[in-house]
Amino acid sequence: MEDKFEPRILGFLCNWCSYAGADLAGVSRISYPTNIRIIRVMCSGRVDPLHVLEALRQGIDGVLVTGCHIGDCHYITGNQACEKRVRFLKETLGQIGVDPRRLRLEWVSASEGGKFARIVKEFIEEIRQLGPSPLRKEIQEIVSE
């Protein structure tokens, strides 16, 4: 068991804006903590509520979904579909006893490397405040039994 809680963050980044934004953070050498792992999808509209739920079920403490700004979607309206799903999913999370703040949706363009780094930092801190995912504890209990 860890002494200090280090949040585990999973990011779903759209290929065209956000993933490029994260790349730009790298090119610009803007550092952020190592707590995030990134999955590239073509569009934020590809992120299925089940992907988010599976991540949480795996004991991941926070899920970040980022897409192109509204109006800039490479696929015209994919990010709008994503926005609706996240809104619905946040309600569902509340109902199953997971703090909706563990799911966060942000718009990051290909030119917003700094914004990406800032969001990652902020989100890690927010999750640090919230503490480990309740599901993570459950998994640990199941294992220790």
Binding site: R8, L10, N15, W16, Y19, A20, A22, D23, A25, G26, V27, R29, I30, S31, Y32, T34, R37, I38, I39, R40, V41, M42, C43, G45, R46, V47, D48, P49, L50, H51, L53, E54, A55, R57, Q58, G59, I60, H69, G71, D72, C73, H74, Y75, I76, T77, G78, A81, R85, A110, S111, A117, I139, Q140, I142, V143
Partner: protein
């Protein structure tokens, strides 16, 4: 089950030092050693530069020697180097879709430079995720569609004219559709061009005549686009001219619809005082010639205000229109030449005379006695009306730190280029996006500057954003070259990342049909069918399908779930938690 599905994955992992870019932070040998322990990994090695000729040869050699059927390179972003590594796979007989990049540079070593140990751990995780995904990768075939060697150019300004000519000269048939009764667009309103002081009308005339008489170009003036169906190589176009429909086929479409000048209603007395003009209004006065202008009036003091209605806090007009500074410099010099005794002021926030020979022009204007007054957004100038058609301009000179009053007989407002009203409709007809500034949004600002994400549709000129004649012509050449590629090949490969419908599961609920931004799903006989040439692979349908009947090639649920489950080393062996995705693809 295909042969490959039956075959056990044998993954090769190549971890790149990228000189010190990765190797200076991440302990590459450790990552290589770790990769060797991962499930399905048959071989792993480190390279100083995997993208070098030696690195590429090393991948090919390892594929042959170790009988690899999947390849992971842990290096930089897939957005730049994926095509190169895919090429190496293809050369060694591995399908390009069986390749995966683990981004341990842009998203690891470069952002965690001060935490080498944590960065090394993270790099291991990233490689583990990529290898897990690679286990589920499937070979994909890109399909081929025939391309009609005909281009539709929408808009007959200098961009449309130039691209039409350029394509026609390459031997392609071109339909040029212009909404006005004659060709020319914005150039018809302009007097001289900077930095050479050529007559805009002469530049235009030569090209317009060449278009009208070209045997490969059919010009439809006073015509608009009513509908465009189909996809690259096979667009079905309906144009409307004098209430009559004209239908034709086109292989590619070029948007060259241009922009219009922003009308500064209720700003600085525009629409209220006769002597407050925009730069385009002034161009039209100048076009009538000096004798005509003399009869109108001989200006003694002229002030040009820059950034009127531009660079605002919020979109759509938050951008710099780029050319207004040079337009002001050019017109100020012209007025000074015609009326040497006059005082001409340019009241600016920031002068942006970028480009070849432009800064020299700016310097000459200062030498010629044009006066430049700097103002800030917080303290914009004010214009008040005085008797005898005079105007009083008050401005706080930000550099001198004092208030200035000018009695002017002409105030010229430099306003930005803005999108045409018809652009929204056109963006819907062609299913291509507009940005926040309402201009057409290219596929990638640097790497694909005149393409759209939708294959076969291109953009040039000011429809894409403010630019001057030289830049518009350069883009017109660019689109002619880009559109010429599929038309010269007479066929095109379409992206393999498309949706696939499991007809057994599909109940024809039409959710996908309603959501698809491209009309790629068609429900017929109670089942959805995907028109692959229309599908762009966003995956919005797959995420929405209640029956889980839709899977995305190369971004299947299995592949994404594999990444989710391997993202972190969990207390519990994460793969033992079986997927809840019953029937998941």
């Amino acid at each position: 089950m295909t042969e490959l599905q039956a075959e056990k994955p044998r993954i090769g992992v190549f971890v790149c030092h990228c000189g010190i870019n990765i190797g200076g932070v991440v302990n590459v040998p450790q990552v290589v050693k770790y990769a060797q322990t991962l499930p399905d990994v048959a071989y792993a090695e480190g390279n100083i530069y995997t993208c070098s000729a030696e690195g590429i040869d090393s991948i090919k050699k390892a594929i042959r020697e170790h009988n690899l059927n999947r390849v992971v390179v842990a290096s930089c972003t897939p957005r730049t180097h994926e095509p190169l590594f895919r090429g190496a796979c293809v050369d060694a007989g591995v399908n390009p879709y069986l390749f995966e990049l683990a981004n341990i540079r842009e998203q690891c070593s470069w952002v965690h430079m001060r935490e080498p140990e944590k960065a090394t751990d993270k790099a291991k995780d990233i490689v583990r995720m990529a290898a897990a995904r690679a286990s589920f990768l499937m070979p994909q075939e890109e399909s081929e569609v025939p391309v009609d060697a005909t281009a539709l150019v929408i808009g007959g300004g200098i961009s449309g004219i130039t691209s039409a000519l350029c394509l026609a000269n390459q031997g392609f048939k071109v339909y040029l559709v212009e909404k006005e009764p004659e060709l020319g667009g914005m150039l018809k309103k302009i007097y001289k061009l900077y930095p050479t002081d050529e007559d805009a009308s002469k530049v235009l005339q030569a090209s317009a005549e060449a278009v009208m008489s070209h045997k490969n170009i059919a010009v439809l003036t006073s015509a608009i686009i009513k509908a465009v169906d189909g996809y690259i190589g096979n667009f079905e176009v309906t144009a409307l001219k004098n209430g009559q429909e004209h239908k034709f086929k086109a292989g590619t479409v070029i948007i060259a619809t241009g922009a219009v000048e922003f009308r500064p209603t209720n700003m600085y007395g525009y629409d209220k005082y006769d002597r407050v003009l925009t730069q385009v209004d002034l161009e039209q006065v100048l076009r009538s010639g000096k004798p005509a202008m003399d009869k109108f009036f001989k200006p003694q003091t002229v002030a040009m205000i820059q950034c009127v209605g531009a660079r605002e806090e919020k979109p759509p007009r938050s951008y710099c229109s780029r050319l207004c500074c040079m337009v002001a410099v050019k017109n100020a010099m012209l007025l000074k030449e015609w009326y040497p005794d006059s005082e001409v002021y340019i009241i600016y926030q920031d002068m942006q005379t970028y480009g070849k020979d432009y800064e020299e022009h700016h310097r000459k204007a200062r030498e010629a006695g044009i006066k430049f007054i700097n103002y800030t957004k917080e303290n914009p100038p004010e214009v008040a009306h005085l008797p005898h058609d005079k105007l009083r301009l008050t401005v706080y000179h930000a550099l001198l730190g004092e208030k200035r009053e000018l009695n002017c007989d002409l105030v010229v407002l430099s306003t930005p280029l803005v999108q045409q009203e018809s652009a929204k409709e056109l963006s819907k007809i062609l299913k291509v996006p507009l940005g926040q500034d309402e201009f057409f949004l290219e596929a990638h600002v640097k790497l694909r500057p005149v393409d759209f994400a939708t294959d076969g549709i291109f953009v040039c000129g000011t429809a894409h954003g403010p630019k001057d004649i030289g830049e518009a012509i350069s883009q017109a050449y660019a689109v002619s070259s880009r559109a010429g590629v599929p038309m010269a090949n007479k066929k095109v490969r379409t992206e393999a990342i498309t949706a696939v419908v499991d007809r057994e599961r599909c109940i024809g609920c039409r959710m996908c049909e309603n959501l698809c931004p491209y009309g790629a799903h068609r429900v017929e006989d109670g089942k959805s069918t995907v028109i692959e040439a229309l599908c762009k692979g966003c995956g919005v349908c797959a995420a929405a399908c209640m029956r889980r009947a839709i899977s995305m090639r190369h971004f299947t649920d299995d592949q994404i779930m594999a990444e989710i489950k391997t993202a972190f080393m969990m207390e519990t062996p994460n793969l033992s938690v079986t997927s809840s995705l019953e029937g998941g693809k």
